[in-house]
C-alpha cells in the first residue's frame, strides 16, 4: 500500500454536493424513508488504507474473488487543514486552510444513497491525493476553481466549485461543529454527481488549470 504524505488524520468526503445532481434527485429524496431532501451535508470517510498518491496505479476492485464488473471515479478539490479547526464561523473558515490539492475517489458504482457504502468506498488505494498542496495564500478564492477530469484524454466532467450546493467556507464551518479538524485533515468538498465509469487500464487525469493536477491509472485485476 502506498502511504500518502499529505493526509495525516482523516479524509472526509462530501456527497451530493453537485447542485445539478441534487436538483435531479428531488423525486428520489421525497420517497420513503426520508420523504425530503437532506438538510445537512452528507459525509463519508475514505479511511487510511485508501490514501494513495499522484501517479499511483489504483488496484482494480475484487468482489467475491472476481474482478468487479465496473468502477467509477470522480475528482474533488481537496481542502487541507493547516490549523486545528473547531466550531468556526463561515467568515473565518478559510483562515484554517493550509492549502489545496486534488483527490480522486475511485469506487464501486453506488447502488443506493441510503446506507453507508463502506464496501464501495473503502477499496485499498482508492483515494489518490495530489503530490502538492498549493498554499492557501496562492488561491484568492476557492469558489472560482474548476476541476476538470479526463479519462484516456477525453473530458468526462467539468465541475466548478461555484456549482456546489454548499461552498467551501460553509462546509468547513458545518463540519467543524460536527468534529474537530486537525492539521493534515482533508475535506474533499464535492464530486460531480455523475461519476465517470472506467475500465481496467484507463488513465484518469484531473486538473485545476494552472494550479494542480492528479494522474492515476486504473489497475488490472
Amino acid at each position: 500500500m502506498t502511504n500518502n504524505p499529505i493526509v495525516k488524520g482523516k479524509l472526509v468526503c462530501v456527497a451530493l454536493n453537485d447542485a445539478s445532481q441534487f436538483e435531479a434527485m428531488q423525486a428520489e429524496f421525497n420517497e420513503a424513508p426520508y420523504k425530503s431532501a437532506p438538510t445537512q451535508p452528507v459525509l463519508y470517510f475514505k479511511p487510511h488504507n485508501t490514501w494513495s498518491t499522484e501517479g499511483a496505479t489504483v488496484e482494480w476492485a475484487m468482489s467475491e474473488g472476481q474482478a468487479a464488473e465496473s468502477m467509477v471515479v470522480g475528482a474533488s478539490l481537496a481542502v487541507v487543514f493547516g490549523k486545528e479547526c473547531c466550531r468556526v464561523s463561515q467568515e473565518e473558515a478559510l483562515s484554517y486552510v493550509g492549502g489545496y490539492s486534488l483527490v480522486h475517489d475511485f469506487s464501486l458504482p453506488e447502488l443506493t444513497y441510503y446506507r453507508p457504502d463502506i464496501k464501495g468506498k473503502c477499496l485499498d488505494g482508492s483515494a489518490p491525493i495530489g503530490s502538492v498542496v498549493v498554499p492557501a495564500s496562492d488561491v484568492a478564492d476557492p469558489q472560482t476553481l474548476t476541476v476538470v477530469t479526463q479519462v484516456n484524454g477525453q473530458t468526462v466532467s467539468e465541475m466548478p466549485v461555484s456549482n456546489m450546493v454548499r461552498s467551501v467556507a460553509e462546509l468547513i464551518s458545518t463540519i467543524s461543529y460536527i468534529m474537530t479538524l486537525q492539521p493534515g485533515d482533508v475535506i474533499a468538498v464535492g464530486f460531480p454527481g455523475q461519476r465517470a465509469p472506467i475500465k481496467q487500464g484507463d488513465k484518469v487525469s484531473s486538473a485545476i488549470a494552472g494550479v494542480i493536477e492528479l494522474n492515476n491509472v486504473a489497475g488490472r485485476a
Copy 2:
C-alpha cells in the same frame, strides 16, 4: 484532544451485531427502501478526533450551540491488529490479531439506521479505548468473552460475544475483503442493541471480567 496510543490507522465499528436487536428489527428491515435485513455487516468509522483513553472525561455533545439533550453509550470488545490483514479466511483470521481491548462508543441517540450518522458518531473524544492491549495469546477464544457495562455502578448491559450475529473471526474475514487492516487498526466487533442513555457527569465503566476494564466520565457542557 487526547491522543490514543493504541489506534494507529482506523477504528472500524460494527453496527447491528447484537443478535437480539437484529431479531427485534426484522419488521423495520422489511420496510422501504430495503425490504429485507442487511446481508452484510453494517460498518461505521470513529475517526481520529474521536480516539480517547482510559480515564478520560468525554466532552458532552453540543448541538446548535446548546448542550445535547441526551447521549448514549455502548461498549465493545476491541480487536487490535498485529499484522497486515488482507482477504483472509475465517480459519486464519484470529492469527492477525495482536490483542484485545475495550472501546466505549459515546454518541447521540440514533434517529434512524438508514443514513450514515456522522454527526452522532464523530463527536470529539467519543471513542475511548482501553489503556492496555491484552495479547491475543492470553485469550484462548474471544467468543467466550462477555462485556459488562455499568453507569454509576448500575449494570446496564451484559453482552456476550457469543450472542453476536457474526463472530470475531467472521467479521475479520469479511472486513479484510473490503479493506486491508493494518497493524494498529481496530475493529469494535459489536455493541449492545440497546445503548445506555447517560446524563452529564455519569460514570461509565465497562469490563471483561479478569481481562480488562475501561472507565470514563460523561463531561458537563
